[in-house]
């Protein structure tokens, strides 16, 4: 299931000083900074000056030595602007390894383009960026820019280390602000890094970070911003697209958002209201009413991202969505809310980070955050969450895009941080029941019913809508352990009421068993193998995370060809570790009939870097046992 998003625009920004070139030759760089680095940030100085609630000026000076092609992305000579912000200065100069200037780049040599991305139909936002073709490596680029904005709602977050495979010689942040706007900040993940807070007063904040070595990207690492240092900043009294705002508490922020941004956006025509009342009829239960309305929205609307005004923060009017039948996440959420209003079901706009990698709205820092919007409906002590951009998602299902994270609910009397639904490991199930037979020539003929629930429903439900060629490709990949696979028949049952997806497959394959002499050898576990490796990582540094757990159960009847006897049967196998449990067993019913049972349970969790190897071995043992074979010998 695919949720479309890109909703709010995160405004990034960046500055200006004088350049003393010879200090940027590449010979003087410490070896420790070159290790694992494609580029070295020699200096990244960001000077933010907030002169009033409605004015912020950001100057960036960034000096980057690029060692090879993979480091080009670290130049970051890019600025965004819109109707309420402007790029006052942008320029760069390039130096060779010895620190001798080889090129000057003026504003007119930067590319100036619309910042529309794939799924966006229209946006006012623009981007200016440098598209530089290096003529030699290493080289050093000095980039300077100045951006002015009336939006003080977004003060750029400070990441002294912004990416993997890049090292930092020096990174400086200076922020100046009036003492009456309620400037605040939050530091995270500072330990293990050399970061000095040089000034922290009522009008000024400064940090200097030095000599941060390049980090390798390692599989299963937690999200970047939860392991590396960052500083979030904000104002209690800010300004957003011609509206003054306040963010002292979540409650106050929510109030402001409801009054200044949302109010007046949920008006609907009497005709539509009557239609909704007719739709719910005599139904009294608010949840049942909501289900009918949600279904109506799913039938009627589609996702189209149009981002105009208020930096894409104000939803399109519900009446417009009603007429057009499309909108982005905010528009569709707000529209659904308006329809629910018409039948007296309360619901709240909810802001969050939408992504399959779980990310929280930082609960202890009141500010504009998030990139997505969904709708929440109170249900006793809990909430039901509605993804309004999807036309297929079952009522209240969150899948992997919005589950298990802190989100901000905008109630009319104030905002509130709440955790979304957690799909428990044991409930993310895939239960397979089936059988297969092996012929005397080793051919496979089988039937299987696979039922997926919890977060596993999410991965499976989309298959139903695949084109026939994609469907075939999916199963040939899913069962790539079966060579010569033929999908003879496949049907689906998508039970949206109980959020359960059933695949009913009939498959066959010639030469599944390999014949050598008078023996046939074949893998017992035909349907659900863990074949992937967990990569061996030398000297892992980062902790590792299993984002979601699951529970698989398989029960497969196997019928053997007549005229053969069993020479070898793999023994039963069981593994119990802190990461989960795995068990297989083979029950011999008679001379030609076996039953294979397999259970696999994986727990979600955050583990230390040291435990990674243990996990790797756990999966390796499973993968080895999943490949266990039966040997049959022909009776003479």
């Amino acid at each position: 299931m695919q949720f479309k998003f890109t909703c709010f625009l995160l405004l990034f920004s960046s500055t200006l000083l004088f350049a003393q070139k010879s200090e940027y030759n590449t010979i003087s760089i410490a070896d420790s900074l070159k290790e694992n680095a494609n580029a070295i940030v020699r200096l990244n100085q960001i000077d933010i000056t907030i002169s009033s609630q409605r004015n912020m000026n950001i100057m960036t000076k960034r000096v980057v030595t690029v060692l090879n092609e993979k480091g080009i992305g670290e130049i970051e000579a890019t600025e965004y602007y819109s109707k309420t912000s402007s790029v006052k200065n942008i320029e760069a100069s390039v130096f060779d390894g010895l620190g001798i200037e080889i090129k000057k780049i003026k504003r007119k040599d930067f590319k100036d383009q619309s910042a529309v991305s794939g799924s966006t139909l229209f946006s006012d936002d623009r981007i200016i960026y440098l598209d530089y073709t290096p003529t030699q490596y290493p080289f050093t680029i000095i980039y300077e820019s100045e951006v002015e904005s009336s939006n003080t709602a977004f003060i750029p977050q400070w990441y002294p280390l912004s990416d993997y495979f890049v090292s930092i010689e020096k990174s400086i942040l200076n922020v100046n602000y009036p003492d009456n706007l309620g400037f605040k900040k939050m530091e995270s993940n500072f330990s293990n890094f050399k970061i000095n807070k040089t000034i922290d007063s009522s009008t000024q904040l400064s940090y200097t970070a030095t000599n941060i070595t390049a980090q390798k990207e390692e599989d299963y690492s937690p999200v970047f911003n939860t392991i590396f240092p960052k500083v979030m900043m904000g104002l209690e009294n800010f300004h957003l697209e011609n509206v003054d705002g306040t963010a002292k508490t979540w409650s106050g922020f929510g109030q402001w958002y409801s009054e200044k941004i949302l109010s007046g956006t949920t008006e609907l025509s009497e005709e539509t209201k009557l239609k909704m009342k007719a739709l719910v009829g005599d139904e009294k239960d608010p949840i049942k009413k909501a289900k009918l309305i949600y279904n109506y929205v799913q039938q009627k609307s589609r996702y189209v991202n149009i981002s105009i005004g208020i930096g894409g923060w104000k939803p399109m009017l519900a009446a417009d969505v009603d007429r057009l039948g499309y909108g982005d996440c905010k528009a569709l959420t707000n529209y659904t809310k308006a329809l629910l209003n018409a039948v007296d079901v309360p619901s709240y706009n909810t802001i969050l980070y939408g992504s399959s990698r779980k990310r929280n709205i930082e609960p202890d820092f009141v500010s504009m955050q998030g990139n997505h919007m969904i709708l929440s409906i109170p249900n006793g002590d809990n909430y039901i969450w509605l993804e309004c951009t999807s036309q297929d998602t079952p009522f209240g299902y969150q899948g992997t895009f919005t589950d298990d994270r802190d989100v901000l609910i905008m109630k009319p009397d104030g905002g509130e941080i709440v955790r979304t639904k957690i799909y428990q490991d044991k409930d993310n199930t895939q239960i397979s029941k089936g059988k297969f037979s092996l012929s005397q020539t080793g051919d496979f003929l089988g039937k299987i019913i696979i039922v997926s629930e919890g977060s596993q429903y999410n991965q499976k439900a989309a298959i139903e809508n695949f084109q026939p060629t994609d469907k075939e490709a999916h199963y040939k990949k899913y069962w790539d352990n079966i060579n010569n696979l033929k999908i003879d028949k496949i049907t689906f049952t998508n039970d949206k009421e109980n959020i359960s997806f059933t695949e009913n497959a009939e498959i066959s394959a010639v030469n599944y068993g390999s014949i050598s002499g008078n023996k046939i050898m074949f893998v017992v576990n035909g349907y659900n193998q863990i074949t992937g490796n967990v990569k061996r990582i030398r000297n892992r540094k980062n902790p590792f995370e299993i984002q979601r757990g699951y529970a698989d159960g398989d029960e497969i009847e196997i019928s053997l060809p007549s005229g053969f006897s069993i020479e070898f049967l793999p023994s039963n196998f069981e593994l119990k570790t802190k990461f989960g449990e795995y068990k297989t067993e083979i029950i011999k019913k008679d001379a030609t009939n076996l039953v294979y049972k397999r259970t696999m349970f994986l727990k979600k969790g955050l583990y230390s870097s040291k435990e990674y190897d243990e996990y790797r071995l756990f999966i390796e043992q499973i993968s080895r046992n999943d490949n266990a074979k039966i040997i049959l010998t022909k009776n003479i």
Binding site: S114, T135, V304, L324, T469, S514, F568, K629
Partner: protein
């Protein structure tokens, strides 16, 4: 009598075309169309173009293109067809939409929703381009949408390509060009289905050329296809001749000779090619003292490769000119390769530019200026042509980057005449692996590998891996090879391009060993064996494109553990496809405690016609089955 007959035909034609015309007008939506639940010929189609027609005509110096489209949406996956965008130049081109209406069936009645200005957007992309976009209102499953757009272009005589085929079926498509007597066009159709042409003289000495196609199936991507657009049914018109008697006579491309002559006469092509002053001194220095032809060509080729870097822009004409590119050390394809050609000529070689259409641009099937998008250099020698592309730093004489390897190019000589040049490599690119390993009875295999890559294989290896850090490369290598542990890794000739890439390392493999019931089962290729057939589809419509001829060769020496003896070996095998497209040779033998295997597989043709698909698929399956056959060792 004959008059009557003619009249009858004319009347019939008029009558016939009238009924046809009525069917394909906007505004005629029937209840039956709205009720249709799936496409009768392609039930899985998410949407269908009921019709799409185009009229092109000329008014003074303006080219007017009017397109009408009627689309039926069956499923949610087809919603994207309810958005349309038309790219146009900002200078001298406008796009306007009209008659955009969505039709729905509501309670048995047809409901019309018109597109209003709120659903129309003009998105400026950059200085040159803009996109006109619409998002149709009130679209749901079952809707029919229709719209017309008009492109008015001051770019006289330049017609947009017309596509008859899309990724959804098209019931009817028509392309209609009204050509004044003084213009002549070249017309090219592409694809596997051909439109019917009828040519009708009309008033004002104009001719109407009408192409029609009905019931066009959807076209979709397949693997091993270089560019699906090569096979998509389409037509393109290119201005060939303007002839206003007594006033203007101007001829453009009509055949390959004329096309290349036109291109050669461009200042940005021929003019740039003839400049030499900017490099004479440097090239003289470079080749003084060099005697052999190879030395000189190598020196000049390397000089251009290292001193002018490619800025990733593809074109056959210069942008800033060779002089500036030489000074700035960066340039587009034409600047680099025309400079190279000029230097080679200056050094006394018979060197010429070769126009190329890259794989992304599609195959240059028909003479037209727009058929090409790229240029390389060729040196004529008594032994044949040497092709050179200095945009790719790891390329060699006759070893071009993959993007260039697209059927035929066109070589232009100094006098403007031209000939075809076959770009498909003739020599095999090889991967040669020598390995010897020892099987230990405890299940661990240890051994050594020596791997060589030549020609295109070496080029693509260098492109991918040279800038990857060694740690990362080794982790990936271990992971790709079933989790072996690698030590003592040495790689030679990274930058010595004239020699093959050579890798040697020691490995420890504990996964490709199976001990069952006192016997050891082992596939001689261990982790190197291909397990899955890359050809999964049952049938195929398009040629299979390997890029270049390939040879994989393995020499394997196995030492078996003490106390064991060979029970059975796979049987040697020698297979080939018809017409020698692919061959496979597997020879195995054992003496004492040693087993020796030699495997050679050759793909001798870069592009294999679709007729051979079944044969090729079977060939791969036999090859893979053979590779995975096990050696069985028993205890003695």
């Amino acid at each position: 009598m004959s008059f009557k007959k003619t009249l009858f035909i004319v009347l019939f034609l008029v009558y016939f075309s009238n009924t046809k015309a009525q069917t394909f007008e906007l505004g005629k939506v029937s209840i039956a169309e709205l009720e249709e639940k799936e496409h009768p010929k392609d039930p899985s189609a998410p949407a269908v173009m009921l019709f799409k027609t185009c009229r092109v005509y000329f008014e003074d110096l303006t080219t007017i293109t009017k397109v009408t489209t009627k689309i039926k949406i069956y499923k949610k996956e087809g919603y994207k067809w309810a958005n349309e965008e038309i790219l146009h130049y900002l200078n001298g081109e406008t796009v306007s939409f009209s008659g955009a209406i969505t039709y729905n069936l509501v309670d048995g009645k047809i409901e019309k929703t018109k597109l209003k200005s709120e659903g129309e957007f003009e998105q400026k992309i950059n200085k040159y381009y803009s996109k006109k976009k619409i998002a149709m209102p009130n679209v749901r499953e079952g809707s029919i949408i229709e719209y017309e757009y008009t492109v008015r272009s001051g770019n006289f005589g330049s017609l947009r390509d017309w596509y008859f085929q899309y990724s959804i079926p098209v019931n009817f498509s028509e392309y209609n060009v009204k050509i004044p007597y003084f213009l002549t066009f070249n017309k090219r159709t592409k694809g596997f289905i051909y439109p019917k042409l009828s040519s009708v003289p009309t008033y004002n000495r104009e001719t109407s050329e009408v192409y029609k196609l009905e019931n066009i199936p959807a076209i979709n991507e397949e693997s091993f296809v270089n560019n699906i657009n090569n096979y998509r049914a389409s037509i393109s018109y290119e201005l060939a001749l303007v002839n206003i008697p007594g006033s203007i006579f101007k001829s453009f491309s009509t055949d390959w000779e004329a096309v290349t002559k036109t291109i050669y006469d461009y200042d940005d092509f021929g003019g740039e090619l003839n400049k030499t002053g900017y490099f004479e001194e440097d090239v003289n220095k470079l080749i003084s003292g060099l005697n052999s032809r190879e030395e000189k060509i190598d020196a000049i080729f390397n000089f251009v490769k290292t001193s002018v870097k490619w800025n990733s822009f593809e074109n056959y004409y210069c942008n800033d000119g060779v002089r500036k590119a030489y000074k700035d050390k960066t340039g587009n394809v034409a600047e680099i390769n025309l400079m190279l050609t000029a230097m080679l000529r200056f050094a006394g070689f018979d060197a010429n530019p070769v126009l190329v259409s890259t794989r992304d641009n599609g195959i240059a099937l028909f003479p037209s200026r727009t058929a090409f998008n790229y240029v390389i250099a060729a040196v004529e020698t008594p032994e044949g042509q040497i092709l050179l592309d200095a945009t790719e730093k790891y390329s060699l004489l006759n070893i071009l980057p993959l993007r260039d390897l697209n059927w035929f190019g066109r070589l232009i000589r100094k006098d403007g005449t031209s000939i075809d040049v076959d770009l498909r490599p003739k020599t095999l690119s090889k991967e040669i692996i020598n390995t010897s390993f020892v099987i230990n009875s405890n299940g661990v295999i240890t051994g050594k590998i020596r791997k060589q890559l030549t020609n295109q294989e070496a080029l693509s290896f260098r492109q991918k891996n040279i800038i990857t850090s060694k740690d990362t490369y080794l982790e990936d290598l271990e992971n790709k090879n079933n989790g072996i542990e690698i030590s003592g890794y040495v790689r030679e000739n990274d930058l010595d391009l004239s020699n093959p890439i050579l890798e040697t390392y020691t490995f420890k493999d504990s996964k490709d060993f199976e001990s069952i019931n006192g016997k050891i089962y082992i596939a001689p290729l261990l982790f190197l064996s291909t397990k899955v057939n890359p050809f999964k589809q049952e049938t195929r419509a398009y040629p299979v494109d390997f890029g270049f001829p390939i040879e994989n060769k393995y020499n394997i020496m196995i030492e078996i553990p003490e106390g064991y003896a060979v029970e059975s070996l796979p049987v040697s095998m020698n297979i080939a496809t018809p017409d020698n497209i692919a061959t496979y040779k597997y020879v195995i033998g054992s003496t004492g405690n040693k087993i020796q295997i030699s495997i050679t597989s050759d793909i001798n043709t870069a592009i294999v016609p679709a007729d051979y698909y079944t044969v090729l698929k079977e060939f791969f399956q036999k090859m893979i089955d053979k590779q995975n056959e096990k050696i069985v060792l028993k205890k003695v």
